[in-house]
Symmetry: C2
Subunit: 121 residues, 2 copies
Amino acid sequence: MHTGHLLQPLPAAGPDEALDTLLARGGVRVERIVSFGQASPDGFWYDQAEDEFVVLLAGRATLRFDDGRDVVLTPGVWVDIPAHRRHRVEATAAGEPTVWLAVFWPAAIDAAQPEPSHRAD
Amino acid sequence: MHTGHLLQPLPAAGPDEALDTLLARGGVRVERIVSFGQASPDGFWYDQAEDEFVVLLAGRATLRFDDGRDVVLTPGVWVDIPAHRRHRVEATAAGEPTVWLAVFWPAAIDAAQPEPSHRAD
């Protein structure tokens, strides 16, 4: 049994997001990510092999999805991001830390997903 | 992609804890649990087949483990509870909602764990 606190201490602000793996077991990984105004680089999209569940604990962030939908995260907002659902961090709060809790796990094999077919077009 | 808010709306206080499954996919289950002063019944211990990661979002709670250790949870405190680590909810805050985010997943087979042996005692 391990325990910790997501909000204290927080790492000092830096040029990069601060990432801590809180646990990794049985294929599941739990991370705390602290952002200080960072966003994804222009044109960059996450296309992850893993499923992800994320919830914001502090600060503010905007996730953009490849269908153009934006989700604004404030503390308490969670987002379920299936594997290969392309998204990017459009913005995180400037001047205060943004604290994310993220859970990653192997994507389920989706039996309803047809095999890619080779089409003649 | 699904999204929601852990803190609003909150269910009305009731005699039982309020449990919402936010997602269940690939063997992983994410639940929001809202307590209103409930605790585990006297003498009751959770002995779960699944691994659990829990973090408190609001309120206050005390988890007791079978080695006598108490963990007091306030917002931001997380606890990693491996399968079969016996524990109970000793207390949750009276007069305000206590909001837990809990993640459950199948326990990893621990290769270091010996098979139970049949002893002569």
